[in-house]
């Protein structure tokens, strides 16, 4: 068990280091990166089966007691979300290998290793039971994403990169301040100990800490009004990079928020968070409607969907939390796939701008089908996973009698449907656009394209699998949520 936990964190790092060392040999370096990420993914699935059977596993790094050292906690919540996150990165890495020689490919020598580092950070962020280590993990994720975003050095990327880096740096600094507050208040940065001690604090401090970390994690999660960095930066990166960002980064923020705010029982912040959730989902959807580029539409959708997850959390009920976790699990792969399809669209049409696309359904029914399934899922149309997740969240809202947020969720749903229709009408229907007036090459050797299609199809199949498995996943989410809602179990596991 301990080895599995270590594997998910260190495996991708080894792959990254070897990938860098072997960067001149394209095959070996790809294999190294894939093996690193793949081993972590496999390890995380193994962890899921172990933890769901045997309960939370705690690893004391270096063998130190929780109040002295760092612990890693593989609870059900962590091992439910982690395998999906890692599987996504794995699929994207395959896509990236296929995309390398096209105009939109990331630098092949760096993308693999950097994704490996990102993977390691994701594993660490989800498994850590220590807030400072969470900070370090965030930095790992962020710094690798900074480099992934800017390593090609194009003007738009540097421009976007600056926004992205500076906003997230500010959030990181706020995180550090927050750690100072927590340490001053509780004398520890261990999550379990914080959860234990926080109830002895004056209400003002407790809520202050809660709302401070709402801002910190909220910036990563792109909630209202802190989301501005996302749509400005994501679309400029190569497709593969954006796909990973879209699937993972904001979700890490939500993940951290779910973990901390439930373990520390921040119910009092519920109403504020509900307002933020409503604003996030609606403004995100409006933002999506305003865009005229597939990648930007999809970027705004991320924001809108984060609102649903926040809503589930903010209800602070069992049903809501289950919904939020299920939404998280569903959203990560679906969003990634949509961005991958966005890449296929750009590859086939030479652009992802609606102005330059049209009639793709006729020329490539496969892309249309690959888009339609995750798009319907995202819009919450049954029988896909998005429907289950949305139903779970909305039902939780109705159970809690929170009518305004339910109405907001429904309105956001309509707007999302409209924006999906906008993409469909603009890209897949209508007459084909004369592509001689813009100069993006339609490129890529067929072999590479096949790899891209294969990776995307694999990912779509994965989202379908999640739809089919929605029942067991719901059960797991429910159990994971229950684990978070009773901090005593978590504390007991960490500090027996």
């Amino acid at each position: 068990m301990s080895a599995l936990v270590a594997l998910t964190i260190v495996g991708p790092l080894v792959g990254a280091a070897l990938g860098l060392a072997l960067r001149r040999n394209s095959q070996l370096r790809d294999i190294a990166a894939l093996l690193g990420i793949g081993s972590a993914a496999v390890g995380s699935f193994a962890l899921l089966s172990q933890v769901s059977a045997n309960g939370t596993t705690v690893v004391r790094v270096g063998g130190w007691a929780p109040e002295l050292g760092i612990i890693l906690v593989a609870d059900l919540f962590a091992v439910l979300v982690l395998p999906i996150a890692l599987a996504i990165i794995f699929v994207v890495e395959i896509f990236a290998i296929g995309q390398r020689r096209t105009a939109w490919g990331a630098n092949p020598e760096l993308a693999g290793p950097l994704l490996g580092i990102l993977t390691s950070g994701v594993s660490l962020a989800m498994l850590t039971g220590d807030l400072f280590t969470l900070f370090v993990a965030f930095e790992l994720i962020l710094v690798s994403s900074y480099v992934l975003l800017t390593h090609q050095g194009q003007a738009a990327q540097i421009q976007a990169g600056m926004t992205y880096v500076v906003m997230n740096l500010f959030a990181s600094t706020l995180f550090l301040f927050g750690l100072g507050f927590i340490y001053a208040a509780t004398g520890t940065v261990n999550i379990a100990l914080v959860a234990e001690r926080i109830h002895d604090l004056p209400d003002g401090v407790r809520l202050g800490l809660g709302s401070w970390f709402l801002i910190v994690f909220g910036t990563k999660a792109a909630i209202f009004p802190l989301f501005s960095w996302l749509p400005d930066s994501y679309p400029t990166a190569p497709t593969t990079i954006t796909a990973v960002f879209a699937g993972l980064l904001t979700k890490i923020g939500i993940y951290a928020m779910i973990r901390l705010h439930t373990l520390t029982s921040m119910e009092e912040l519920g109403p504020v968070m509900l307002v933020i959730a409503g604003a996030t989902m609606i403004i995100g959807a409006i933002g999506a409607l305003a865009q005229s580029d597939v990648k930007r539409i999809l970027s705004f959708h991320i924001i809108s969907q984060v609102g649903y997850m926040l809503m589930g959390l903010a209800l602070f009920s069992e049903a809501g939390l289950t919904g939020a976790i299920l939404f998280l699990v569903h959203h990560m792969p679906v969003k990634t796939v949509l961005f991958l399809v966005g890449g296929l669209i750009a590859n086939a049409e030479g652009s992802s701008r609606l102005r330059y696309t049209g009639g793709l359904a006729k020329r490539s029914p496969l892309i249309a089908a690959l888009f339609a399934i995750p798009a319907l899922s995202l819009a919450g149309i049954p029988p896909f996973s998005g429907f289950v997740a949305k139903l779970a969240v909305i039902r939780a809202g109705i159970e809690a009698n929170s009518t305004p947020i339910v109405v907001a969720a429904l309105i956001a749903g309509v707007l999302t449907l409209l924006s999906m229709a906008k993409i469909w009408l603009g890209v897949f229907w209508g007459p084909s656009v004369d592509r001689s007036d813009h100069n993006h090459p339609v490129s890529g050797p067929p072999g590479n394209r096949r790899t891209m299609y294969a990776a995307t199809s694999l990912a779509v199949a994965g989202t379908l699998a999640i739809s089919v498995m929605a029942g067991p996943l719901f059960d797991l989410s429910e159990r994971a949520g229950a684990g978070l809602r009773s901090p005593s179990a978590y504390i007991e596991a960490v500090n027996p």
Binding site: L20, L140, I198, A290, V388
Partner: protein, 750 residues
């Protein structure tokens, strides 16, 4: 059995997609198999009077998301209609489309996907099963309406349909969640009456959802636009099956809302308005297909009206009408499609004399039209009779409203039917007609004849309808369809309706309206949608303005407001002025330097300030007792200052100027930000809930970590994982810097 039906359909979809790659025709034929089998199964089950089969598969059982199907009398009747008409439509489409029409790999498969969605919907015995297939019909309908999507008008129509039915779906979703909560069950066959505010809300929400799907005024605006679809689609989805889904929904959940006034009132409002307005629309239009579409709105209104009355008799009549309507309306649509193909127009003012040129179509159309008017000897007559009987059977205000509404609606129905038949088949312009295609004529003839057959085999029809109605209202089993009622009041009313309506229609058919009426409702819907699309950029550009400094200021304000709760817990008791006077001096020096640094105009000066502050902070570390920090800080500061000077040395020496207003905002946000941090820190330390285990740490470091420098032992042992992460961060930064360097080097080589 139920499961294998779906499997057959699934197989059919794949086969038709594959076969359709060769030609449209093979795709359509492949697609027709599954509905044909289903229709046969339904017919046999109905004739044998099998007891309902149930299939259940739990998907997400905690959310009550189950796939539960039940083949009761109503479900079988609907399945027969869906699959039977479906099979005929597929056959018809082989005549409608040219064999080599484009889209053979998509169209038949999509139509079959719709067919199976509809089948799932009618067989559903769980609220959520019903909803799942409901949504799927919306999507497949969108794809089918947009079949000819190269045309911008078609795209708009498809978007309108999707948005209205999609929004309705969301409203319905909310309604169903509430209903399920009130009921405590999601099994449609186990509904019990609910009451209370929540139930009323659910009732209205569900009714709105149903009204969008069944094209009730004012949500009907998508239906005429949907006529942009190929005629087989219009005949199948937009008259015979999908638009019935809303009515069916009202019928099946009706028993739960029997005690809710809002349900009845809203239902009548929707129903009666649609019945009248739809018929008026049918009278105004010139396009034969639009006449029929508006007629559908009207007929659906009648069905909704009957169901809303909620009496057993009305329910029985509604089920009977639903059956009859599917038959005659599909017939008429198919014939319009045939006319369209054979004459090249659907405009009634350009058509005429087709009775002689298209005799078979004429006979089928007349049979269907008479059935629609409610004239004997056709099944529509019996059902219209039943409807009037039902209205007369009500009491008080209900009776007055019901009789009036149905009479007026029926008169108008007769009028537009007569107008339709006379303008198309009666004397008029001489128009060239292409040769007959059997594939188009036969299905219409079969459906048209079925209206007559229904009249002849009245007992069979009557019992089928009875068995279906009994599923909705157990008291409905006493009613029957009566072929020759004698001189009852209802019959007299019927005669009057036929006479007045017939005359009215005959008069109107002489005069064709000058220009086709504008589709105001549809235009309004489009304006609304476009308005949202146009308003979105204007709204979002205020939030997402693209200016990083403003984003950061927003974040600063957000963080400051997050610190507000700290204020309530703040106590200053634990504050001392300073730990040592030197600390105070250093602190003052640092702050003063920092403030000065903010106003330094040159980059070099800024770098120097940075260095000075770094040294000052190191001094604070010394006082704090942190030699490792001092060492590190000094080294780090040196590197950064050197890097700053080396890296940015060649930049313009001065910073660009900023506007005064923005400067003011920055000053405010930075002041509250600084305040927030101070408040947070002081408040957090006011009443700590735990202490660091310094002693055990020290012991652990020496005993187990083997080092006297506790900080170093923490970094390399106790918290080595952090250090591991930290150095990977550094390595990654290095990779990033190298990557940028390489980009620049390749560029400079070019």
């Amino acid at each position: 059995m139920l499961l294998s039906l779906f499997a057959i359909h699934g197989l059919g979809i794949v086969c038709s997609a594959l076969a359709g790659r060769r030609s449209m025709k093979s795709g359509l034929i492949a697609a027709a198999v599954a509905p044909a089998i289903t229709a046969t199964w339904a017919a046999i089950s109905l004739s044998r009077g099998d007891s309902p089969a149930i299939f259940e598969f739990a998907w997400v059982s905690d959310l009550d998301l189950v796939f539960r199907f039940r083949s009761d009398g109503l479900a079988l009747l609907m399945a027969l209609l869906v699959a039977g008409i479906g099979a005929l439509v597929f056959y018809y489409a082989t005549g409608y489309f040219k064999a080599d029409a484009p889209g053979g790999n998509r169209f038949p498969a999509t139509l079959l996907a719709f067919s199976v969605s509809m089948l799932g919907l009618v067989l559903a015995d769980s609220i959520w099963t019903f909803f799942i297939f409901w949504e799927f019909t919306s999507i497949t309908s969108f794809l089918l309406v947009g079949h000819k999507h190269e045309d911008a008008k078609v795209r708009m129509a498809a978007r309108r349909a999707l948005l209205i039915t999609g929004s309705g779906g969301l409203v319905l979703l909310a309604g169903l969640v509430v209903l399920a909560q009130e009921l405590g069950t999601t099994n449609l066959s186990e509904l019990s009456p609910v009451s209370g505010t929540a139930a009323s809300v659910a009732a209205v929400l569900i009714l709105i959802g149903a009204a969008t799907k069944s094209a009730q005024v004012p949500f009907h605006v998508w239906l005429p636009g949907a006529m942009a679809a190929p005629t087989p689609v219009s005949a199948y989805l937009h008259s015979a099956t999908m638009v019935k889904a809303g009515v069916l929904l009202v019928a099946v959940v009706g028993p739960a809302f029997a005690e809710i006034e809002a349900w009845k009132v809203a239902g009548l409002l929707f129903g009666i308005t649609s019945m009248i307005w739809g018929a008026v629309g049918a009278l105004r239009h010139r396009d034969a297909k639009l006449i029929l579409a508006w007629g559908t709105v009207s007929q659906l209104g009648l069905l909704l009206t009957l169901l809303s009355f909620g009496s057993a008799k009305a329910t029985y009549a509604a089920v009977a009408m639903l059956f009859a309507h599917a038959l005659f309306k599909a017939t008429l649509f198919l014939i319009v499609g045939e006319i369209d193909i054979r004459t090249g127009t659907r405009d009634v003012s350009e058509l005429g004399g087709l009775a002689a040129k298209m005799p078979i179509a004429f006979i089928s159309a007349t049979a269907a039209g008479l059935s629609m008017m409610g004239a004997p000897p056709l099944v529509g007559f019996m059902t219209k009779e039943a409807a009037i009987e039902a209205a007369l059977g009500l009491s008080g205000l209900d009776q007055a409203v019901g009789v009036t509404a149905i009479t007026v609606g029926s008169v108008l129905t007769v009028a537009y039917t007569v107008r339709f038949l006379m303008t198309v088949f009666g004397p008029g312009p001489d128009i060239a007609v292409l040769p007959r295609r059997a594939a188009m004529t036969i299905p219409a003839a079969v459906l048209g004849a079925s209206g007559f057959a229904g009249f002849v085999f009245v007992d069979a029809v009557s019992s089928i309808v009875g068995n279906a109605a009994v599923e909705l209202n157990t008291e409905a089993n006493v009613y029957k369809l009566i072929p020759w009622p004698g001189l009852t009041l209802a019959f007299i009313v019927s005669l009057a309706i036929l006479t007045i309506g017939g005359l009215f229609g005959a008069v109107l058919s002489r005069r064709t309206t000058a220009a086709p009426p504008r589709s105001v409702g549809a235009d309004l819907a489009d304006v609304a949608i476009d308005g949202v699309l146009a308003g979105a950029p204007r709204f979002i550009s205020r939030v997402q303005h693209g200016s990083l400094p403003a984003y950061l200021a927003t974040m600063g304000f957000a963080a400051s407001s997050a610190a507000v709760p700290f204020v309530w817990a703040m106590s200053l008791d634990h504050l001392t002025l300073w730990d040592s006077p030197i600390q105070a001096v250093l602190a003052a020096g640092i702050v003063a330097t920092a403030v000065a640094g903010a106003f330094v105009e040159s980059r070099l000066g800024a770098a120097l300030t940075l260095g000075a502050i770094g040294i000052g902070v190191s001094g604070l570390f010394v006082i704090q007792g942190a030699p490792d920090l001092v060492l590190t800080q000094l080294l780090v500061e040196t590197v950064i200052v050197v890097g700053f000077v080396l890296g940015l040395g060649q930049l313009a020496r001065r910073f660009p100027p900023v506007s005064e207003a923005w400067k003011a905002v920055r000053i405010v946000v930075s002041l509250v930000g600084g305040l927030a941090v101070m408040v947070g820190l002081v408040a957090s330390a006011s009443k700590p809930a735990g202490e660091a285990p310094i002693e055990s740490l020290t012991i652990a470091a020496v005993e187990e970590g083997g080092g006297k420098n506790v900080v170093n032992v923490i970094l390399t042992d106790l918290r080595a994982l952090d250090t591991l992460g930290e150095v990977v961060v550094l390595a990654t930064v290095a990779i990033g810097i190298l990557a940028l360097a390489r980009v620049r080097k390749t560029e400079s080589m070019v």
